[in-house]
C-alpha cells in the first residue's frame, strides 16, 4: 500500500525525479525478520489481553455491592418479628420492612396483603380497652354519671337476681335512693317522678323507703 502511494506521489514529477523514484523502487525491499514480526505481534496480543481485564476492573466492586444489596434486602424482608405476645398468630412488621415493601417482589407484596387483616385484628385486640375507655369518657363528660349511662352498663335482668341471692345492695341503688329522697325533700316532684320510674325499671325489687312509695 505504501509502495502504491509512493508510485502515485511520483506522477507529477519531472523525468529526473521519476528516474530517482524508479531507482528507489528497485532498491532491495528489505523487510523485518520473521522472528521480529512474531515478537511484536505477541507483544500486541499480550497488551490486549492485559488491557481487557483492566477495562472490566470496575465490575468487581459493582458486583460485590450488588450482592450485598440483594442480601440485605432479602434479610430485611425475611426478618419479620415474632408472633404477638398474645399468641394470636398476628404478624408484626419492622418499620424497615414496611419501607422496603414498595420495592419487594409481587409475591412478597401479596403475602403482606394477606397478612394485613391479621395485623389489624392484633392491633384492635391491643387497643380495644383503651379505645372503649376513651369513648366512655367522651360520652360522660359530667363528673357524676347520669342514670341513663348507668343503665347502659348495668344489666337490669342480671343484677336483681344477684341481689336476691346475696342480699347485698348495689351501691348505685342506695345512692340513687338518697338522691331521690333529696328531690322529694326539695319538692321537685316532676324530677322525682322521672327518677323513680327509671329506678323501678332498673331495680324493680329494691325496697324503697316509705317517703318514696306511691301507696
Amino acid at each position: 500500500m505504501i509502495d502504491d502511494d509512493r508510485k502515485n506521489a511520483s506522477t507529477a514529477n519531472d523525468p529526473e525525479r521519476e528516474a530517482l523514484e524508479a531507482a528507489w523502487r528497485r532498491m532491495p525491499a528489505d523487510e523485518p525478520p520473521e522472528l521480529l514480526d512474531q515478537a511484536i505481534l505477541n507483544r500486541a496480543r499480550r497488551d490486549l489481553e492485559t488491557a481487557r481485564p483492566r477495562r472490566l476492573r470496575w465490575l468487581g466492586p459493582f458486583a460485590t455491592a450488588g450482592v450485598a444489596l440483594i442480601a440485605l434486602s432479602v434479610w430485611l424482608l425475611s426478618d419479620r418479628g415474632p408472633a404477638s405476645p398474645g399468641g394470636d398468630g398476628a404478624l408484626r412488621l419492622e418499620p424497615a420492612t414496611e419501607r422496603a415493601l414498595p420495592a419487594a417482589p409481587d409475591a412478597l407484596r401479596a403475602r403482606e396483603a394477606a397478612d394485613a387483616p391479621l395485623r389489624e385484628e392484633a392491633a384492635e385486640a391491643q387497643e380495644f380497652r383503651p379505645v372503649t375507655r376513651a369513648k366512655s369518657a367522651a360520652a360522660s363528660p359530667a363528673p357524676r354519671p347520669a342514670p341513663s349511662a348507668m343503665l347502659q352498663v348495668a344489666p337490669t335482668e342480671e343484677a336483681a337476681p344477684a341481689t336476691d341471692e346475696t342480699g347485698d345492695q348495689p351501691p348505685g341503688a342506695a345512692e340513687w335512693v338518697e338522691r331521690m329522697l333529696a328531690l322529694a325533700a326539695a319538692g321537685r316532684t316532676n324530677e322525682l317522678a322521672a327518677e323513680l320510674a327509671a329506678f323501678r325499671a332498673a331495680y324493680p325489687d329494691y325496697p324503697l323507703p316509705p317517703a318514696l312509695r306511691d301507696d
Binding site: I2, A39, A44
Partner: protein, 180 residues
C-alpha cells in the same frame, strides 16, 4: 469490498481487535523497517529501533486521536524513537562502500538496474542524517512536505530545504552512474 482505513483499524484495535492490529502491522511493517534500516545503515540497530518503535506504538495506542492520519502519527513516533536512539548510541559512523554492499543482496546477481539501486543506496548513506530522514519520509513513508515538517518537528521551509538538497545529491549520484 472497500479497504478499511488506517484510522478505522486503529479504532478497532483500541477496542480490543487483534485482527485490526495485524492488518495495520502488515501495511506498515516493510516501510517502517526500511525507514530505520536506511536511516541508521545497520541491520542490528535497525532491528532494535524497529521493535522499540512498535512497542511505543502499542503502548501509546490509547493516545492516538483520529484528527490526523495514522501514518503521520506512526512515523512521528518512529522519528522520535530514532532520535532517542541517536542520542543514546554513538554517532552513526559513515559506512564505506564495502560495508554498504554487505547489507545488500548478492552483488553477483546485480543487473544494471540493481547496480543503480545500489549506487542510490550508497548515496543515501552519504547524506546528512536529517536530509536522509527527509528523503526517507518522502520516498519510503510517502509523507507530503507538511507532514514531514510536522513529523520531524521543523518548519516547512526547513523540511523543504532538506528534501531539495537530498534529492539533488541522489540525482547527482544517478547521473554520475550514467556518465561512468
Amino acid at each position: 469490498m472497500r479497504e478499511r482505513s488506517d484510522e478505522d483499524l486503529v479504532a478497532e484495535w483500541s477496542g480490543g481487535s487483534m485482527a485490526a492490529f495485524e492488518q495495520l502491522y502488515a501495511r506498515y511493517r516493510a516501510p517502517l523497517y526500511r525507514y530505520f534500516l536506511r536511516l541508521v545503515g545497520d541491520a542490528t540497530r535497525a532491528n532494535d529501533l524497529y521493535q522499540g518503535c512498535w512497542e511505543k506504538v502499542i503502548r501509546a495506542r490509547g493516545r492516538y486521536r483520529p484528527s490526523g492520519p495514522f501514518r503521520a502519527w506512526l512515523f512521528r513516533i518512529a522519528h522520535n524513537h530514532a532520535m532517542d536512539g541517536f542520542r543514546r548510541a554513538e554517532p552513526v559512523t559513515e559506512l564505506d562502500e564495502a560495508e554498504v554492499a554487505s547489507t545488500r543482496p548478492d552483488p553477483v546477481a546485480h543487473t544494471a538496474s540493481a547496480e543503480r539501486a545500489a549506487r542510490l543506496a550508497a548515496a543515501l548513506d552519504e547524506l546528512p542524517p536529517e536530509q536522509r530522514e527527509a528523503v526517507l519520509l518522502k520516498l519510503e513513508a510517502g509523507l507530503d512536505l507538511e507532514t514531514i515538517a510536522r513529523v520531524t518537528g521543523v518548519g516547512r521551509e526547513t523540511a523543504k530545504s532538506r528534501l531539495r538538497y537530498a534529492t539533488k545529491r541522489l540525482r547527482r549520484a544517478l547521473s554520475g552512474e550514467h556518465t561512468e
